[in-house]
């Protein structure tokens, strides 16, 4: 039997253990990514120069390499980069010509709105549909929802985005074709409606893609819950219909659904890379592509670390929320047992 007092110490220990794990993880990610980046056969200077290759001579290229510190041996570059990292300095983005942390901060703010909206949409819709499918298991609604989920799971994110773009922006002209703000409007005149209008299609794209796993897992959780002993007992007491779902199923199904939803931040971010590319939405996802295509090693490393923390934090929050909803799981590291 657990009481609050006895639980406190393990919680502290768990937090310490988690933090240690995160630090270890980040170190590993940093080292591994750096090794990968440095060994890339692609010449970053050539990528930076791009089409200007006609007008730049070897002397200028040497200057560029020098400015980026590409002359130093790899291990020195890593040590200085890693040292700066410990001091909170993520380095300097080459393509954006500003500190990595600033780039990430700026771009992430834009992505945050997109991801949060999509996350909520897919969570709420997915849970609702999964609930319906699970309760109506085997009936038409279930089959339709399940089929749709499988179809969505098989559809490439960017293609869904392309279709939406074609239908709603190009053909119907209902939504803007690009960007996060209307064209030519100074920042202080951009209204909430404008932002939402520009957010709508990318967010829908992103949520459409994330919805399938939520639906299917919720459905399974509902089916499991409905087959469980406690629902049998509730039925034996005359509980049925909406009451059964509300009182005996929702909470049981919500815990795994939330855990999944919080654990899906990584996928969500991956999706945002593609959605932002399709809709020219200037967020962190688009910056990731730019960094990868432009050989911007410091930015790419920064994004890798940042998203690792993001995913880690998502899982952590998910575990906490799960524990709130499902008292049995408290103090148990779910990730290890799943």
């Amino acid at each position: 039997m657990l009481t609050a007092g006895s639980a406190a110490r393990p919680v502290v220990a768990a937090v310490v253990a988690r933090t240690a794990r995160l630090v270890l993880l980040l170190t590993a990610v940093a080292v591994a990514s750096f090794v990968l980046m440095v060994n890339s056969p692609v010449d970053p200077v050539a990528a930076y120069v791009g089409a200007d290759v006609a007008s730049l001579g070897p002397a200028q290229r040497a200057l560029i390499a020098q400015r980026w510190g590409l002359d130093d041996p790899a291990h020195e570059r890593f040590l200085s980069w890693f040292g700066n990292l410990l001091g909170g300095d993520f380095g300097f983005s080459l393509t954006f010509n500003r500190p990595v942390l600033e780039v990430i901060g700026d771009k992430f703010l834009a992505s945050l709105a997109l991801m949060a909206l999509a996350w909520l949409l897919s969570g709420v819709l997915g849970f609702g549909l999964g609930l319906v499918a699970g309760v109506r298991r085997g009936w038409f609604a279930d089959r339709a929802i399940t089929w749709l989920s499988y179809a969505l799971a098989s559809a490439p994110t960017f293609w869904v985005g392309l279709l939406l773009l074609y239908v709603f922006a190009v053909s119907l002209n209902w939504a803007p074709v690009c960007c996060a703000v209307p064209i030519g409007v100074p920042a202080d005149e951009v209204g909430l409606g404008d932002r939402l209008a520009h957010l709508a299609l990318p967010a829908i794209t992103l949520s459409v893609v994330g919805i399938a796993p939520v639906v299917l897992h919720t459905r399974q959780a509902v089916v499991d819950a409905l087959a469980s002993d406690h629902v049998a007992f509730a039925r034996a007491q005359g509980e049925r219909g909406v009451g059964l779902v509300l009182h005996r199923v929702v909470r049981n199904a919500a815990a795994p659904a939330l855990l999944l939803q919080f654990g899906s931040l990584g996928e969500l971010f991956g999706g945002s890379v593609l959605a932002e590319q399709v809709f020219s939405y200037p967020g962190l996802g688009a910056a990731t592509t730019t960094a990868a295509l432009g050989q911007d090693v410091p930015l790419l490393l920064g994004i890798a670390l940042f998203t690792t923390v993001l995913v880690f934090a998502g899982n952590l929050v998910g575990d906490r929320v799960h524990a709130l909803l499902d008292p049995r799981s408290r103090l148990v590291d779910l990730r290890g047992t799943r």
Partner: protein, 266 residues
């Protein structure tokens, strides 16, 4: 007042379809022909080997079989034939299931809310007071109200389940395998509880595989084998060796206390 027994089950059969590895379909006949009656004030034990589908009988009586199950036979309640839907309607009020395992409580809802919900379903007014009283009556004070099922001891769980099952003052209580894994004293206590329920003018059907324990509390014992009722006897018949059916006799003599032997006709 009809003279028919409160519960009368005739030739109840249940089968359903299952798939094996490789998706080979097989139709599993879980119950092949069960006959059972129980009247108010009576505790009837249904005894058979484990895995013989006895639990399905409980679910069938309450109309809660899974959708892929096919049911045949008749179930009469107070002399009226009830189809599964009608039985479902009466579940919780006239018919109650009394399980004994912690898994029958919702793991993510505090105990009091579950009991209170049972009171609401039973149509009781002032469900808060009723629920509190029902727990109090079984020796469970406010300190357990906010606990989750996994924080209760086995005995507490049993009392909570009983409080919920009896909330609607049912005429019939079906107790499903209440004793496996319990130490002897606990088995005795659980069965004594059931006896008391029967003594309060309710019909109790006790589903168990423990013949010896059942004999101590039951008014009648129904023996089933391979999903079919084969015999019905009174506890006294066992002790005086007046058993007529060979399987019942074999079962009795196979018990360690009664010779631990195989009768030739088993």
């Amino acid at each position: 007042m009809s003279t028919a027994p409160l519960l009368e089950i005739r030739s109840l059969a249940v089968s359903f379809t299952q798939y094996d590895r490789g998706l080979r379909r097989r139709t599993v006949t879980a119950l092949a022909g069960m006959d059972l009656t129980a009247d108010r004030g009576e505790l009837v034990a249904l005894v058979g080997a484990s895995g013989a589908g006895k639990s399905l009988l409980a679910h069938a009586v309450l109309g809660m079989l899974p959708p892929n199950a096919v049911e045949s036979g008749t179930v009469r309640f107070d002399g009226v034939v009830l189809d599964p839907a009608a039985r479902r309607d009466r579940a919780g009020r006239d018919l109650a299931l009394l399980p004994q395992s912690v898994t029958f409580l919702d793991p993510v809802t505090p105990v009091f809310r579950q009991v209170r919900r049972a009171a609401v379903l039973a149509g009781r007014s002032a469900p808060d007071a009723v629920a509190g009283a029902a727990l109090e009556h079984r020796g469970l004070g406010p300190e357990v109200h906010r606990r989750y099922p996994h924080q209760l001891s086995g005995g507490q769980v049993r009392r909570v389940l009983t409080a919920m099952a009896l909330m609607g003052d049912p005429a019939l209580v079906v107790a499903d395998e209440p004793t496996p894994g319990l130490p002897a004293e606990a088995v005795r206590a659980a069965l004594a509880d059931l006896r008391r329920i029967a003594d309060r003018h309710r019909a109790v059907v006790l589903i168990t595989h423990d013949l010896a324990a059942a004999l101590e509390v039951a008014d009648r014992v129904v023996i089933c084998r391979h999903g079919r009722t084969v015999d019905e006897a009174r506890p006294a018949d066992f002790h005086t060796d007046e058993l007529t059916h060979p399987y019942t006799r074999a079962l009795w003599h196979a018990l360690p206390g009664n010779g631990f032997r195989l009768t030739e006709d088993a």
